[in-house]
């Protein structure tokens, strides 16, 4: 465990000197918190009707009976953008992993590291956690800022409770870390093939595409993201993570790194 800690500290000391990494870890969470807060601010009193029956069906789905039409619309709009919080656990680890793995490749620092008594698993765990922990922390902090802002801006506690329903708590606190793990493993696999951190980052960024498809699908009313869907999504991600961890441990072997990573 000490060696894993050493690797994590080393990774952070190195990658956080990179402005690109700092930007993605510090600025993105603020942006992701600011968007739904701006929507809350902009959508105050934007719908005058109090009649539930006059609202579109997908808006109705999110609306507890006791809320007014205007409140429902606000809850609906914010719910649409809650998926943005899922971009953070995908984007941040890919940036950190891309720089940490490819950085080691280009500066040829992996061989001295592999010559130490560290196990491959410890090294991989150190590198993965160094990318995972900031991503999870940034997601939680971002969600925390949003929650605080929403609590201050929304006078009606029932509206606030509707926004913070179990779906999004499961998404942020369970699906988020699972998505981060997908991002780290894919990033490590891509990094083993390319030599430019930006190329690795851009390729890993493609992971956001399915998330955007879900976002626009829900926005267009094709489906509704409910608690069951999120739980099934979490189970699916768990399976994907298990497969990806297996594949990345196969790629992240001493001999493979030394003889095939170019």
């Amino acid at each position: 465990m000490n060696k894993v800690r050493t690797i994590i500290r080393k990774e952070w000391a190195e990658v956080f000197r990179n402005r690109m990494v700092l930007f993605s870890v510090a600025f993105l969470p603020l942006l992701m918190a600011a968007i739904p807060l701006a929507i809350i601010f902009a959508s105050r009193g934007s719908m005058t009707t109090d009649q539930h029956g006059e609202m579109p069906a997908q808006v109705e789905t999110f609306c507890p009976a006791e809320l007014s039409g205007g409140d429902c619309f606000q809850v609906y709009m914010v719910s649409q953008f809650m998926l943005m919080f899922m971009i953070l656990p995908l984007a941040i680890p890919s940036t950190i992993s891309a720089y940490s793995v490819i950085g080691e490749k280009t500066s040829r620092t992996l061989e001295p590291l592999l010559a130490t008594p560290i196990t491959t698993l410890e090294l991989l765990a150190g590198k993965s956690l160094a990318a995972l922990l900031p991503a999870i922390a940034a997601t939680y902090i971002s969600f925390g800022i949003f929650s605080l802002g929403a609590w201050i801006m929304i006078p009606n506690p029932a509206v606030f409770a509707a926004m913070m329903d179990a779906r999004w708590l499961i998404a942020v606190f369970l699906v988020g870390p699972l998505l981060s793990l997908v991002s780290v493993n894919v990033s490590i696999m891509i990094s083993s093939r390319v030599t430019d951190p930006r190329a690795a980052e851009q390729l890993t960024a493609l992971l956001v595409v399915p998330l955007l498809a879900v976002f626009f699908g829900q926005f267009a009313g094709l489906f509704v993201i409910n608690r069951e869907l999120i739980l099934y999504g979490a189970l699916f991600l768990l399976l994907i993570d298990a497969i990806l961890i297996f594949l990345s441990t196969q790629i992240f072997q001493r001999e493979t790194i030394l003889t095939r990573w170019k």
Binding site: N2, E111, P112, L114, T116, T259
Partner: protein, 307 residues
């Protein structure tokens, strides 16, 4: 300290190392020479337990490669072909990371010891990106020594260094030798190998030859003595050639070049003979072939001693 038996490594259909048999004693500086792509780095990687052999066996510091890799990594130090330092981090932090990974008992103390020993203490907090090549190489050597390994693998330790830095590194290697460490030195610098190594191996996928530099010279070229005479002529050459212990005598650029087995014993007889023939001898000296000439002949002839 290092034993290999039929050590072999294949990468797919490519044979990188073929049936290497070596035995290196404790405290020996062993030079491992060969052209680029000969399999030197692959051999070092196998012996340092970084990659596993396809066939054969290797024991390093009493531990078997492939079975006791962790113990091997704890007991050997590796200087890779490139320093491989974290350029954004300070010299001190670079060493600190490795001291922790090697589980050194007093990381701060060991880091200080080697930074001072290699003259880098004053610049310990500077990022290594600001260091010269020589300083980086010294830091990489320090990193390989932090855990006080008994066996050191040095891959091209003076490559790309200016003469002054190269000399510093060579002096340091000599110091390590005095401490009784076993050093496996891969180098293209044949003069360096000649000066530092007790024995050298010439390697090109397989082991071509292994011996002391001096004995290799003798095997390749025999021992040759040059006589500088003011008045060398054919009669003198003929008289020397007839001596029973002389293998060969030739005139080269107005000098007499004699090949023989035991110059220390036989030179006085040759001198006597020449003086009797009326020769005026200016100088007598042994013709010493460089290790480079020995090496080139071996590599070109694929290990055959002479053409």
């Amino acid at each position: 300290m290092i034993q290999t038996e039929n050590l072999t490594k294949r990468f797919g259909s490519t044979l990188a190392v073929k049936g290497l048999n070596l035995s290196i004693e404790q405290g020996e500086v062993f030079g491992f020479l060969g052209p680029n792509g000969a399999g030197k780095t692959t051999t070092v990687r196998m012996l340092a337990s970084l990659i596993s052999p396809t066939q054969g066996r290797a024991v390093v510091n009493g531990f078997e490669v492939g079975r006791q890799d962790d113990q091997i990594r704890r007991s050997v130090g590796v200087l890779t072909e490139t320093p491989g330092l974290y350029d954004n981090l300070s010299a001190e932090y670079n060493l600190r990371i490795f001291a922790e990974l090697y589980e050194v008992r007093d990381p701060a103390g060991q880091v200080e010891k080697y930074l001072r020993m290699l003259g880098l203490w004053e610049r310990r907090f500077e990022p290594t990106a600001t260091f010269s090549k020589g300083m980086k190489q010294k830091l990489a050597i320090a990193r390989a020594l932090l855990h006080e390994p008994k066996v050191l693998f040095l891959d091209e330790p003076t490559a790309a260094l200016d003469p002054e830095s190269a000399r510093l590194v060579r002096d340091f290697i000599s110091e390590l030798r005095r401490e009784g460490r076993t050093i496996f030195l891969c180098t293209h610098n044949l003069d360096e190998a000649d000066r530092l190594c007790d024995r050298i191996a010439v390697f090109k996928t397989r082991l071509l030859v292994v011996d002391t530099p001096e004995r290799l010279r003798q095997q390749m070229f025999g021992r040759k003595v040059v006589f500088h005479l003011r008045n060398l002529d054919e009669a003198m050459l003929s008289k020397v050639s007839e001596l029973p212990f002389v293998s060969e005598a030739r005139m080269v650029d107005g000098r007499l070049l004699v090949t023989l087995d035991d110059p220390e014993k036989r030179n006085p007889e040759i001198v006597r003979q020449l003086v009797m023939e009326g020769a005026e001898i200016q100088f007598v000296g042994e013709l010493r072939y460089s290790l480079e000439e020995v090496y080139l002949r071996l590599v070109r002839n694929d290990g055959a001693p002479a053409t």
